[in-house]
Amino acid sequence: MTETRTITGNRGLMVEERLIFEYDHQNRTAVDVPAVEPYEDRLGGLRRKGGVGLPGLAEPQVVRHYTRLSQKNYGIDTGLFPLGSCTMKYNPRLNEKAARMTGLADIHPFQPVSTVQGALELMDTLSHWLKQLTGMPAVALSPAAGAHGELCGVMAIRAAMDARGENRTTILVPESAHGTNPATAAICGYVVESIPAEESGRVSVEAVKAKLGPHVAAVMITNPNTCGLFEPEMIEISRVVHEAGAYVYMDGANFNAVVGRIRIADLGVDAMHINLHKTFSTPHGGGGPGSGPTVLSAALAPYAPVPYVVRDDKGFRLVEHERDAEGDAKPFGRMKGYHGQFGMFVRALAYMLALGKDGLQQVSGDAVLNANYLYARLADVLSASFEGPVMHEALFDDRFLKDTGVTTLDFAKALIDEGYHPMTMYFPLVVHGALLMEPTETESKAALDQFIEAVRGLAERAKAGDAEYFRQAPVHTPRRRLDETLAARKPVLRWTPPQA
């Protein structure tokens, strides 16, 4: 049924597009450069001998190439994107406009600080908003993404432990955690021990207590967790962790569920990263750039990495070196080049100013309402993993597919044919065949109702025994299921010229 009968292999708007390297290599360019007069170079004999091997295309060819490629992508702008734990909300275009203002885009990181007071004020204002929204006394802005923020928090914990003269070896991580948590702990030299989840999908104080001891440096706990549930014993967990002399790292990937409604400080947290590309709407861009500012408690604040902004009577300035730190500050080092993901700070601040406190409360409220609406409307056809109410996302498992011959993967691929990006699949690992849906607050009720009808229809089709339909899916896409085993077994990671 999928055989292409057109002459070209194209299917209407689905146009086949070759690699740029497969265009004919004429001596074209889309960037005309002034000719260079003869001169004596200063390359010290290190001039490149051969060519680079890049193709040459004219501007219209390039624009068409990327336009066609873009049309093979699904984005938030395309449709509902219920990818659990990823918070695929609408990215306001004003953010992009602000980031392109000449005074914010065409400034260099090493201009004299007297000439970038607006940029430093912007960073300081963003810090103020993040501190107010979390109730935490300090924030490190420089981490480049969520996992990098985790690294920042755990390095601060490590530095604090070193300062205390304690050599604790272990970090506790619940089994529902995202893979970055244990990977981060390992990079900082810690052994990872897993905390089992309760039947209810939560982490209990007792389970944490059972693992605590003088060898434990910290607990990393995602809250709301990856099952879409708030940890009701969080305050108590923090208390026992602190009693054991350890710190609490809270993974803030799911902050969107609670923004404006609770203060993280009131949960007893010592460190938490905030994904600006989730809660604060900076675009995901096909996998970044992200930004992961990390809020810190008074106990960890002195160890925040360089650089950071300080304000004195002469205005704003940057502390760029560990040795320039003042007061009790003892920065643990530097996490990346330059001053952080400034372009993402601009976008996130534009979003925060647009929403304000009242708007952000509405954001979390609508996000939670939308998720619960999905949970309620789908509970009778899918299998809800835990008792609600849920927070920002709804977790189902594959019990509803039992004996149908249809897998979670098949089900997700069939959703693609219905015009949707699938939910997160097979994560978290605490339930079998997980389907994790996060609609976010930027979906209308009508959009959710349509999605619900599609999911219900597919669930009924699966139960009716039409497994073959699911195994074939997707069929209405630029490519159908791809052979991932082949890709891994015989890695082809770049184009190479065809053998003559």
Binding site: L57, E96, G286, N372, R479, P491
Partner: protein
């Protein structure tokens, strides 16, 4: 609120369907002791026009580079952004897509990444490249960690010609795992002896081309010595445009090449975001960090692309992963790749040549200014000069004349008084003849 489509009626209907009294009731798991929204002291929502004005007010407090003659580099370089580039990366299908976990509806992003990996491999003269890291500095740190995994050794040597942010980030990244990162003192003249320091305890030696202070070196002999000792050579660059004119790190024998790709992707943007380029040899493929995009076929036998070799990564391997990286720098990698496609062979090599010729001309004119000494004998588009007075003071004085003369070395090396007079001057196609006239005239005045 303009971003939120639910109406009051919708909310009521949805609560009824859920069987909840209110939205607050949905938060019943949240302890009352943590619910203190009243303690959050922030203003309420604003219109688009109000936000635009607030952001413009902040922008207006900066002196931007287009308002001055700007010769700033030190790892971030200002190049012209073709109009087509910014248009293309703002297409919503690129801008608002996620990491391509569903390849059937992400072939756009995946093909771009495959092309990006190929471009990076070609430019650096290496066999394979990944789909990007956060930035050049973190890519450098990851390279050192990879060398440590491969050699099982606990010592890293960093040349004094490496960007200090790359060096510091590498040190921070590795120090908690017991790796000893030795950073050599700043190598202004490019005279440092690395071969004499190579020993069999080293996991890798990290060098940079062009060096932080501008000079160019052939690392071929160093590569031989490093390999002889069973270690790896990591070559960094902060100006990938230079690869259009220079002998490649691959040709010199590099095992890993890392770079900051900002200069060919985005405006300087106060230093972020950037994009980390990461290339290596095929034999080290399975030790590489980050996402990799690979070619395959679909069930109909058509060529397509997927993320691959993910058994190295955190979402599969958890604490045993090669890195904790998840989000990388996809859109900046896309911008980089589109720019490289726009340039093509002719544009890339031509722009590199033009940059170098401009810099040679600038160095020639600056050398004639009394009180200026050009320190770099070789360079690409950035070189070091020295004054008898602190470079930071000279920069400050010229800033008043709308000349951003360069980056004082003291900004990075405040504890090296012998570097107080050293200034890094970058010259690209963005610097007009008038800019250069203004720099020369300004320096003559300030130094007289």
């Amino acid at each position: 609120m303009r971003f939120l489509p639910l109406t009051a009626e919708d909310r009521q209907a949805m609560l009824a369907a859920i069987g909840a009294e209110s939205v607050d009731a949905l938060y019943r798991d949240v302890p009352a002791a943590a619910r203190h929204p009243e303690a959050i002291d922030l203003p309420n929502q604003k219109t688009e026009l109000q936000v635009e004005r607030a952001m413009a007010a902040l922008a207006g407090k900066n002196l931007n580079c287009s308002q001055a003659a700007a010769f700033l580099g030190a790892g971030n370089y200002r190049h012209h952004t073709p109009a087509a580039l910014d248009y293309l990366i703002q297409r919503g299908e690129f801008l608002t897509a996620y990491t391509p976990y569903q390849p059937e509806i992400a072939q756009g992003t995946l093909q771009v990444l495959f092309e990006f990996q190929t471009q990076v491999a070609l430019m650096t003269g290496m066999e394979v490249a990944n789909a990007s890291m956060y930035d050049g500095a973190t890519a450098c740190a990851e390279a050192a960690a990879m060398a440590q995994r491969i050699t099982k050794r606990k010592k890293v040597l960093v040349s004094g010609g490496v960007h200090p942010h790359f060096a510091d980030t590498t040190d921070t990244f590795l120090k908690f795992t017991g790796v000893d990162v030795e950073i050599l003192p700043p190598d202004v003249m490019g005279l440092e002896d690395l071969i004499g320091r190579v020993d069999e305890d080293l996991a890798c030696v990290i060098v940079q081309t062009p060096g932080f202070f501008g000079h160019l070196k052939d690392f071929s002999a160093l590569a031989d010595a490093v390999h002889e000792a069973g270690a790896l050579l990591v070559v960094a660059t902060t100006e990938p445009l230079s690869l259009g004119l220079l002998k490649t790190p691959g040709e010199m024998g590099a095992d890993i090449v890392v770079a900051e790709g900002q200069s060919l992707a985005l405006p300087v943007g106060f230093g972020g975001p950037g994009v980390g380029l990461f290339a290596s040899r095929s034999k080290y493929l399975r030790q590489m960090p980050g996402r990799l995009c690979g070619e395959t076929v679909d069930v109909d036998g058509k060529r397509g692309f997927v993320l691959t070799l993910s058994t190295r990564e955190q979402h599969i391997r958890r604490e045993k992963a090669t890195s904790n990286i998840c989000t990388n720098s996809g859109l900046v990698a896309t911008a980089f790749s589109i720019h490289m496609t726009l340039l093509g062979e002719k544009g890339f090599t031509g722009l590199a040549e033009y940059n170098h010729a401009r810099a040679v001309e600038a160095a020639r004119r600056l050398a004639a200014v009394p009180g200026v000494k050009v320190l770099s004998s070789t360079f690409f588009n950035e070189f070091a000069i020295a004054f008898d007075k602190p470079a930071a003071d000279v920069v400050e004085a010229l800033t008043a004349k709308k000349v951003l003369a360069g980056v004082p070395a003291s900004r990075f090396y405040p504890t090296y008084p012998e570097l107080d007079g050293v200034l890094l001057v970058a010259v690209t196609e963005m610097n007009s003849d008038e800019d250069l006239d203004a720099l020369v005239a300004g320096l003559k005045e300030v130094l007289s």
